[in-house]
């Protein structure tokens, strides 16, 4: 499917291939991106429609069964001549391909909070659900999660313009090669390593520190909530299960069980997804900021060191221990020429250092700006999404209560007729 203005390749290529060091052109692109980014979702309807099982050979040449998901895309302006929307374009993707896309996005846009993918394995299981990736409930939850992922990326002002993302939705074959060609994997190693490293930053930006604390707290409380929720669900299921034993004596009680089971299973997906949301987000952005900050400080340190060296040479005093200094002391002073050339070399190096520092500073500034914009966007989104989740949770509980009322009123009538 070709979109009318899916973007000239050169603009998009800039974003994919260059490093984050700022350039004016990138600033321009950012402006246009915001405009066009919000337009992507308006242009395309995206959905993850179905899941299917495939078997094939994996990397160790063993037969395995895996699930694939059908992605449907369709232009949003459905010209209604006769009222039938055009058939969607479709392709199939595996979970691992989603993971690859996400890793790519993580590396390429370090200042953006990338939407989460659904769980790889079933954690927080309740109802003694085996962590079986082929279990239909699990597959369904995953399908919804994958769809949400795609929708969120597509509605993000920055991410939605990425070409690789676009190809993911449109090119079934050859996508993997395209991703690898961007060379993002080289950055993966360094960036992902830095994500898991502990940095000690001397002057952390207070906002980021606060954000980091908040996201730590949030992830703790959310995983606690999910765990307890699973236990609550288990207990409630236990209660209903025991009620089922009434069924041996009172035949109408069988109805109770069915109704309650059904309402039950519906409960988990909605809030689960949005709860995963909160967990994983903040952490990566904060870590990236630390990385940038660290680089900045290293550069600053470097510069200071060089300045001191120059000073030392100029004034002849040894403030910093250096081998050169010692040897010169031991073996006599250098000639004026030598010293001057050294000073010149040092000055050059200092100049370079200052330039690098300026660059790093600017980089850091930009990162901070972009990151904060995205964080603000994320906060709003999160609040909105969580509110929606809480409301649907409340509605679902109300509807469960209603069913409960029905069932027990019915039971009362049956008892009356005893």
């Amino acid at each position: 499917m070709i979109m009318a203005d899916s973007g000239s390749s050169e603009e998009v290529a800039v974003i994919c291939n260059t490093d984050i060091t700022s350039t004016e052109s990138e600033n321009n692109i950012i402006n246009t991106m915001v405009e066009r980014g919000t337009a992507l979702l308006k242009k395309m309807e995206i959905s993850v429609a179905e899941a299917d099982k495939r078997t094939g050979k994996n990397t160790v040449n063993m037969q395995e069964t895996y699930t694939v998901y059908l992605i449907e895309t369709r232009p949003a302006e459905t010209v209604s001549e006769g009222g039938v929307p055009p058939a969607p374009d479709t392709l199939w993707r595996r979970y691992s391909e989603f993971e690859l896309l996400r890793t790519y996005l993580l590396v390429t846009y370090p200042y953006v909070i990338i939407p989460p993918l659904p769980e790889k394995r079933a954690e927080f299981v309740w109802h003694k659900l085996s962590a079986d990736n082929l279990d239909p409930d699990f597959v369904e939850r995953r399908r919804v999660g994958l769809e949400n992922f795609l929708l969120r990326v597509a509605s993000h002002p920055v991410l939605s313009n990425d070409n690789i993302f676009f190809l993911f939705l449109t090119e079934e074959k050859g996508w993997r090669e395209a991703v690898l060609e961007t060379g993002f994997q080289d950055k993966v190693d360094s960036r992902l390593k830095s994500l898991s490293a502990m940095f000690r930053v001397k002057n952390p930006d207070k906002r980021f520190t606060a954000l980091k604390h908040y996201s730590d707290d949030l992830s703790t409380v959310i995983s606690q909530l999910l765990r307890i929720r699973a236990r609550v669900a288990d207990r409630l299921y236990g209660v209903y299960k025991v009620h089922a034993n009434y069924g041996r004596v009172f035949s109408f009680m069988m109805l109770i069980i069915f109704l309650k089971k059904l309402t039950f299973i519906v409960s988990t997906p909605v809030d689960n997804l949005l709860l995963d949301f909160g967990c994983f987000y903040h952490q990566s952005v904060c870590k990236k900021h630390e990385l940038v900050q660290y680089e900045l400080e290293m550069a600053a340190q470097d510069l200071t060191y060089k300045k001191q060296q120059k000073e030392e040479l100029a004034t002849g005093t040894v403030r910093i221990f250096s081998l050169k200094g010692m040897t010169s002391k031991l073996f006599g002073q250098e000639t004026q020429e030598q010293r001057e050339s050294k000073v010149a070399a040092l000055e050059q190096s200092i100049q370079e250092g200052e330039d690098a520092l300026k660059e790093k500073n600017a980089e850091s500034q930009e990162f901070v700006e972009k990151a904060w914009t995205d964080i603000e966007r994320f906060k709003e989104q999160k609040d909105k999404d969580l509110r929606e989740a809480l409301i649907s949770y409340a509605i679902m509980q109300i509807s469960m209560c209603k069913k409960g009322i029905q069932v027990w009123s019915n039971a009362k009538e049956c008892f009356n007729k005893m």
Binding site: K384, I391, Y393, A394, C401, G404, A411, K412, N416
Partner: protein, 380 residues
């Protein structure tokens, strides 16, 4: 020391029995080490008020112990072997080390004893029993207890039962076979329902505990949020409410349904005993009847026994339908009460959710539909 709780019930035969409980200190020992041991005797105090002419006075107050009730029951069963006497609460409770003076245990027992007496007083035949009157009116029961068949005769009856069950009955009346089947079936079902209900209570209690953790987590989360704090607290308080309502529901089950079910579990055993006794009577008659052929006994004795069989069967027939009616009424009312309570539970939780959602959540609801219309769409 006198502990006092009272409850009152009218009976159909013109008298009312108010039952309260007593804890009387028998003696107090202080031994050499200064330790005090208190021997306490537990008894129940009855206040009988009657307008019935059969009684000399209009008010009697007596104290009775659990053993006195056992005595009364066995007297009634001896005199009316095929009538269905309402069961007494159990002597011991098998749930581990239950303190005999534990408040709950005593209260449950008191209620059950009260029901026992009321059932007797409602029974057309049993309520006229001499023993019953003695039980209610005499200050001291001890002199009366010496009367009546003693331990040895009870032993004899047991042995006769065993012998008869080996012999089997010659002529089996179909109606009693049907009855026997029903009793078996009833016993199984009522035991099953009783067990299930107890498990439900256990599961509900655990559910309730989890809900407490759950709601406190929402409150904890609310502390680190700004705009979301109110909605989160809202949901947290809904969950809290759910927990509280569950607690009330469990209490209701324990106080209303469980005792009713339990009594009928004991009734099932009573019924089995009644069927056994009836069979005995018939077997005795048949034995003597056979002996008649070999001239080991006389016609008069056989006729007596035949009468006895006739009497027993008629008594049982009459009582059977009376019992079934009252059983149905009792269980029905207990079950309906539980069902109503359940409906009530869901209604309370639901209204709390709706209320909170309107005030706390929906102002922020951004979806195209308003909260109330969304509820309407779902038919809520």
């Amino acid at each position: 020391i006198l502990l006092h709780t009272a409850c009152k019930l009218q009976s159909r035969l013109n008298y009312s029995i108010r039952c309260s409980r007593d804890l009387k200190v028998n003696n107090l020992n202080v031994d050499n080490e200064g330790e005090v041991t208190v021997y306490m005797k537990f008894s129940f105090r009855f206040l009988l008020q009657t307008t019935c002419s059969e009684f000399d006075s209009s008010q009697y107050e007596v104290r009775r112990r659990y053993q006195d009730f056992l005595w009364l029951k066995s007297r009634l069963e001896d005199n009316y072997p095929t009538l269905i006497v309402h069961p007494l609460p159990e002597k011991f409770v098998m749930k581990g080390m239950v303190d005999r003076f534990n408040d709950d245990f005593i209260e449950t027992r008191r209620k059950a004893l009260h029901r026992f007496l009321n059932r007797i007083s409602e029974h057309p035949i049993l309520s006229n029993s001499h023993y019953f009157k003695v039980f209610l009116t005499e200050e001291e029961l001890a002199p009366h207890r010496k009367q009546g068949p003693g331990f040895l005769s009870r032993m004899g009856e047991t042995m006769r039962t065993m012998a008869n069950s080996v012999r089997g009955l010659r002529s089996k009346l179909e109606e009693f076979d049907v009855m026997q089947e029903y009793v078996e079936d009833f016993s199984n079902k009522i035991c099953s329902v009783d067990k299930v209900t107890q498990r439900i209570i256990k599961e509900q209690r655990e559910y309730m505990d989890e809900l407490k953790h759950y709601s406190s987590t929402y409150f904890q989360w609310a502390e680190s949020e700004k705009e979301l704090a109110e909605p989160l607290k809202g949901i947290g308080s809904c969950v809290e409410r759910c927990s509280k309502e569950t607690q009330e529901q469990v209490q209701h089950l324990s106080e209303v349904l469980v005792p009713a079910l339990h009594e009928y579990v004991l009734c099932a055993d009573t019924l089995k005993a009644v069927m056994r006794r009836r069979n005995n009577i018939q077997a005795e008659f048949e034995a003597k009847n056979e002996a008649l052929a070999s001239r080991k006994t006389d016609q008069e004795m056989v006729d007596d026994l035949a009468d006895r069989v006739e009497q027993a069967n008629n008594a049982l027939r009459g009582d059977w339908s009376r019992w079934r009616t009252s059983m149905r009424a009792d269980l029905k009312s207990a079950l309906i009460s539980s069902a109503v309570k359940n409906v009530d539970y869901y209604e309370k939780v639901s209204s709390k959710l709706k209320g909170d959602s309107f005030t706390v959540l929906s102002p922020f609801h951004i979806s195209p539909f308003s909260f109330s219309s969304e509820l309407q769409n779902l038919g809520l």
